[in-house]
Amino acid sequence: MNFRPADDTSASANALEIKGISKAYGRFPALKDVSLQAKDKEFLALLGPSGSGKTTLLRVLAGLEQPDAGEVRFAGEDFLSLPVRRRKVGMVFQHYALFRHMTVAQNIAFGLTVRKRSEKPSKSEIADRVAHLLQLVQLEGLDKRFPSQLSGGQRQRVALARALAIEPKMLLLDEPFGALDAQVRRELRRWLRELHDRAGVTTVFVTHDQEEALDLADRVAILKDGQLIQLGTPNQVYEHPATPFVFDFLGQACRLPGVVSGERLRIADWETAAPEGAPQGAVEVFFRPDEVEFAPADGQGLAAQVLGVAQRGPDVRIDCQVEGAPMELQAHGPSLPPGVSPGQAVRIKPLRPQVYAAG
């Protein structure tokens, strides 16, 4: 089941190496033998539905959870033997976990003020650093506010500044945009990516939002039920999902049963070239609802009956009946593809079908 891409990098380029991590809560296995790597300064997304173990894995990296088995190395160092406070990871919690009784400035300075006397910067150095970070997260002038007096987006940036204050070796973000509304999310996303590129730290972030992961990350690790299903660049995982689950999770999916024999894929009465590496025999065929070509009823493709069409912003939704099952297809508007109108029989050709062994 586990799909791992060919090791295209030498081991030394991997800043973070996670090997065979397992963790169970009582009888519930949260992580099952998870192995993955992140390169230096890489932006890695842990993507999965709730209960997939992504947050547990992040907390293992932070040192807030001890795994039952496995190994975590960062820059060659055995991370699991280090206590939380010596790992120097900057963690941003899902609900930010700002210190509610401290001002913004005190929150950001916290990591510096708790250092040993010999390593503690002077008061003016701390003040300078806080001012610099406030500028970096664009919160100048809010230093004397308390967390309760900030908006969600502002709190998130304070949390980020606080994590960056300790000059972390690695940044860990737990659903960094989870509690924000769509508009703020999108703005912060770009900004966070720029910040990561400028700060130059390896970053691991957890999300259940596939769009966010694909948009932000250098590489995406997809988890399900505590297992790593696929690890790859956003393009790799989107174009070549390793399993039906990944296909389904990364976007809308249309599915039909089919049969592969030799080089040919057969769906109902239509035959086409099978994708490379397709399994033989009964398969499930997956394709995206917008990666479809329409043809007249006497042309090539799968027989379909158009039930209705609806304009959906820039796209057009086309409700069809394909092989006796309802299917929602999409075309890019504003005009309908030629020959498509309600009540009309057409033929459809999935442009890039993915096939998986049935069952």
Binding site: A62, L64, R85, M91, A97, L98, F99, G111, V114, A165
Partner: protein, 278 residues
């Protein structure tokens, strides 16, 4: 906030009933205490309070509270922390045991110490041999008070700490803080008002406790009588002005507690679990 719902015709009846009961059961007796205390004038009020026995009772009450309240505060914080932050076997049993003094008669809380440390108790002979006095002595009063007031601080802190979660502490750890630093700089500031609230209620109970301490005290005048016991002793001796004068101190203490409690609830309601529970 719940929306108000009016049940036609019932509101005036319930209101009148409540006010009548409050008047008869609380305001009236409280008024009587002060009226009786001052019945023979201010000088007569002060006189019994300046008696050596009375002064000793006041000092003893303060001493017992000064020992048992901090003990309970420490216990309460430790227990609440353990319960709110860790999963362990027997956790619900521990929570139940913390509540036990609330549901048990205070007399029993006194009797257990007599059973353990009294002359005929399990450790009685050993204590006698080593010349240690617990029953009929200050240490017994402290033990009985600690047991009775055990739940106050813990009960106040547990729901609050469970509600706040451990994320801030986890954040402090990732930022490089050690265990103690995290406790002093993150945990304690977050619970300080709730802790104060619990300590306040605990203190009121500690100073006013009668049942448990009366069992272990033996009511030796000028030696083991706390203020509430002193009131009883005077009353039984028909020294009504003295009894009510002492009672008025306890009543005032209750009123002061009430004022501070209300202030806390008003200013820091968000940080008290009590205001959410009630």
């Amino acid at each position: 906030m719940n929306p108000t719902i009016r049940l036609p015709g019932l509101a005036p009846i319930f209101l009148a009933l409540t006010l009548a009961l409050l008047g008869v059961l609380i305001v009236l007796p409280l008024g009587v205490v002060f009226q009786q205390a001052f019945a023979k004038g201010f000088a007569a009020y002060l006189e019994p309070l300046t008696q050596p026995d009375a002064l000793h009772a006041i000092r003893l009450t303060l001493l017992v509270a000064a020992i048992s309240v901090p003990l309970n505060a420490v216990f309460g914080v430790a227990a609440a922390w353990a319960i709110a932050r860790f999963e362990f076997k027997g956790k619900s049993l521990l929570v139940t045991f913390i509540d036990l003094p609330f549901s048990m008669s205070p007399v029993v809380s006194g009797l257990v110490w007599v059973l353990l440390f009294g002359a005929q108790g399990w450790f009685g002979p050993w204590l006698q041999d080593h010349n240690i006095k617990i029953i009929f002595a200050t240490s017994g009063l402290v033990l009985a008070t600690v047991l009775v007031t055990l739940p106050f601080v813990a009960r106040e802190l547990i729901p609050l700490m469970q509600d706040q979660g451990a994320d801030e502490e986890a954040a402090a750890l990732t930022l490089g803080a050690g265990g103690w630093t995290t406790f002093w700089r993150v945990t304690l500031p977050n619970i300080k008002w709730a802790l104060l609230y619990g300590v306040l209620l605990c203190n009121a109970r500690a100073m006013g406790e009668f049942g448990a301490v009366s069992v272990v005290s033996g009511s030796v005048r000028g030696l083991t009588t706390t203020l509430p016991l002193h009131v009883e002793v005077l009353y039984n001796d028909y020294e009504f002005v003295g009894a009510f004068a002492a009672a008025s101190i306890l009543a005032s203490l209750g009123l002061v507690t009430l004022v501070i409690k209300t202030l806390l609830e008003w200013r820091h309601s968000g940080e008290l679990s009590a205001s959410r529970r009630h």
